[in-house]
Amino acid sequence: MGQIEWAMWANEQALASGLILITGGIVATAGRFTQWYFGAYSIAAGVLICLLEYPRGKRKKGSTMERCGQKYLTAMVKLFGPLTRNYYVRAVLHFLLSVPAGFLLATILGTVCLVIASVIYLLAAIRGEQWTPIEPKPKERPQVGGTIKQPPTNPPPRPPVEVRKKPSVGEEEAGTAGGPQVNPIPVTDEVV
């Protein structure tokens, strides 16, 4: 249990609680329960929580899976700076949002789940975790021709003039092997 990042679990819980609040709120307002305005509140609170919790924070170690389409909400959530970065603020916010929904039967489960999420966020905040946005990696353009520098200025090295000239006739006769084969190493005929 050494390096568990509680914030990630709290984030999943808060997102699920938001959805439960929305569902409970819809049941309450559609069924026209008494005090149905709590149901309307719970829909609004649920939507706010879902928007806040949808972008997943970055893990300390390793790669984080993004939720699909989260980069737009990341930009919005990033704007609030320390209010959204700090998990103490989130814990308190979730706790306060959950209280009014507890008065209505249809949304009471949303309250319970959100309170649990708020407790886990508090635990994460005590352990010093923070919400860091997942930045999109800048696209590395393939460096085509990056290593191609200036063309060489000097001609390639050539051997000196004397060697380049063709050898004289005398040297030629001695060099080539015109006669019979001369073995550099003495060869014996091995006949058994």
Binding site: M1, G2, Q3, I4, E5, W6, M8, W9, E12, Q13, A16, S17, I20, T23, V27, G31, F33, R56, R59, G62, T64, M65, L105, A106, I108, L109, V112, C113, I116
Partner: protein, 583 residues
């Protein structure tokens, strides 16, 4: 993670629904119209509408024609029937969800001769997916169940019936429904179950499992609490049925009270009441149809239903508990660590021995050797601590530390072996095994088995593809591969094993595995494999045969392989895809 396989059937169908009746109070006129409607996946065959003039609300009622529901005056709401319907689905799924987790049983079934068909064995591969499907179904229908019961709680308190206090869950008129929720046994256990389910489900998402497996593991063990609460939840005796239907049939008129219904259910009564009728019944001619008006002989009596959930749950729960007990006992003896080897790219090999250890190929390296080994890659905090316990930080540079150095190894317990789909690769005539990185370990045991003796198995040709990012990773099993290759060359079967190694990342300088692995060096390709070409080549060389495809690696590779395996090719070769998922 859900993958649709043609053999998999998602069992979300409901079973028959209970009927419940609740007598209505007086001064309500009933006008029952029965409308037949076939609701596809629920298999309901009848839907009838009840209007109660007193309450002036129209409430649809879902019933099952096999139970003679809808006979008489009663106060039914949609909430009651929705909650009962969803409870039936929950019963089924809560009992089925435990079965794929009996891993020892599944391993036994996989290996035994009682399951000869390959198709059935491949169904066992899908056990984790089935478990997840059942879990999601439980969540959805719990939501429906809770919503329906919330409406019921409200209706119980608002429509409290003075005449039949036994039937009502509320204790007095307009009792606060929240009090109903928290002070009754079903209500309290229901709320606790939702909380437990919430904790379990939020910790079971893919992202959490991949990043913090501990949270998933510890919260998932709360399932036991969930089941205990479920068994208590249904013991409240909330649902009742009428015991004296013959003396007080539905739709009968009580002579004490005022006329409760003018026209009762002509269709129902005509259908269900044939033959001779007991005394006290008189015929009335009404609308050119014969209707029968019954007179009540005595007051209705009610009794609580036997909790059906207990019957559903107890079987699988007992089976699962027995299996856990067996696994606990089996893994009680610690293993003896023989050697610890540190491989490049953060992989550790642990060789150990355990008494009474039996394993099949594909589960662990070979049956004949007494020792078995485990390879693991150091990725997270648990594996890091494990490595530090096995090797001192200073000694991590050296390759092998023999046991005689009197190291203080931790006490190690292992649970298993469990079956895996890779056992099946020896039962195909031609197999294609694709490994990605550390995913090669299940195939290592297959290769070890072939090294011992290949003749008893059906396998005659093995294509072994291993894709790695780092060239030093190939050294984990380089010796094994070379030995296998040499063995088959000696036995004059050079085409038995076809090895292809791929280095997917090309920015390293080192391009060969090592000086002493010439066979592997010439089988090393730089870049990712081109699967379509590979499959075409295998198809061409094995025309008309069935090739088993096994993949253990990242999901992108396995998806690609799955797609290509399902496509037809012009050589008549069939590719059967087998996969095990690990996350």
């Amino acid at each position: 993670m859900l993958e649709e396989e043609e053999e998999e059937e998602v069992l979300v169908e409901e079973e028959e629904e209970e009927e419940e009746e609740e007598e209505d109070s007086n001064n309500k006129s009933l006008d029952l119209r029965s409308v037949s409607e076939h609701i596809g996946w629920e298999r309901r065959t009848l839907q009838s509408f009840v209007t109660t003039a007193g309450n002036e609300c129209k409430c649809p009622l879902v019933t099952d024609a096999s139970f003679n529901c809808g006979k008489g005056d009663y106060h039914l709401e949609v909430g009651l029937c929705l909650s009962r319907a969803s409870a039936s689905v929950l019963n089924l799924n809560c009992s089925l969800i435990l079965l794929p987790m009996c891993r020892t049983l599944l391993a036994y079934l996989r290996g035994s001769q009682k399951v000869p068909s390959r198709r059935t064995r491949r169904l066992l591969d899908k056990s984790k997916t089935f478990h997840i499907t059942c879990g999601i179904t439980i969540c959805i229908f719990s939501g429906v169940h809770v919503a329906a019961h919330l409406m019921n709680a409200l209706n119980f308190s608002v429509n409290y019936s003075e005449d039949f206090p036994e039937l009502n869950a509320a204790r007095y008129q307009n009792e606060d429904p929240r009090k109903l929720l928290f002070t009754t046994v079903p209500g309290l256990t229901g709320v606790c179950m939702v909380v437990v389910l919430f904790l379990m489900v939020t910790a079971s998402t893919y992202a959490i499992r991949v990043s913090n497996y501990d949270i998933f593991w510890y919260t998932h063990n709360l399932f036991f609490v969930f089941y205990v609460l479920l068994l208590l939840h249904v013991s409240g005796g909330l649902l009742k049925y009428q015991t004296n239907l013959d003396t007080h049939p539905p739709g009968c008129i009580s002579l004490n009270r005022a006329q409760s219904q003018a026209a009762s259910t002509p269709d129902y009564i005509a259908e269900h009441f044939h033959g001779s009728l007991p005394e006290g019944f008189s015929k009335l001619e009404d609308r050119n149809q014969k209707t029968f008006v019954k007179i009540c002989l005595e007051e209705p009596k009610f009794q609580a239903h036997f909790p059906q959930t207990w019957i559903w749950i107890c079987g699988p729960l007992c089976l699962y508990c027995a299996e856990r007990l067996y696994r606990c006992i089996r893994s009680n003896k610690p293993v003896t660590i023989i050697s610890v080897i540190h491989h490049p790219s953060d992989v550790m090999e642990l060789r150990m021995v355990k008494e009474n250890f039996k394993a099949r190929p594909g589960q662990c390296p070979t049956e004949t050797k007494a020792t078995f080994g485990v390879h693991f890659k150091v990725v997270g905090d648990w594996t890091e601590r494990f490595r530090d316990l096995l090797l001192p930080p200073s000694g991590q540079d050296s390759e092998i530390l023999p046991f005689i150095q009197s190291r203080n190894y931790p006490k190690l317990y292992i649970d298993g072996p469990f079956g895996s789909p890779f056992e099946e690769s020896l039962n195909y005539e031609v197999s294609l095994c694709v490994a990605g990185g550390i995913g090669v370990t299940p195939f290592a045991s297959i290769l070890n088995t072939l090294l011992d003796d290949w003749k008893p198995y059906k396998l005659r040709r093995l294509y072994f593809i291993w894709v790695c990012r780092d060239i030093r990773s190939f050294q984990w099993f380089a010796d094994l591969l070379c030995m296998l290759h040499n063995k088959f060359w000696q036995e004059n079967r050079p085409d038995y094993v076809n090895i292809q190694l791929y280095l997917s990342q090309t920015d390293g300088i080192q391009k060969i595995i090592g000086e002493n692995y010439p066979t592997l060096n010439c089988r090393l390709f730089i870049g990712r494999p081109r699967w379509k070409l590979l499959f075409d080549e295998i198809a061409k060389c094995n025309r008309g045969k069935t090739v088993g495809v096994f993949c253990c690696g990242p999901s992108s590779i396995s998806k690609t392989l799955h797609n290509i395996s399902n496509r037809s090719n012009s050589y008549g070769t069939r590719f059967e895809y087998n996969k095990e998922s690990f996350s």
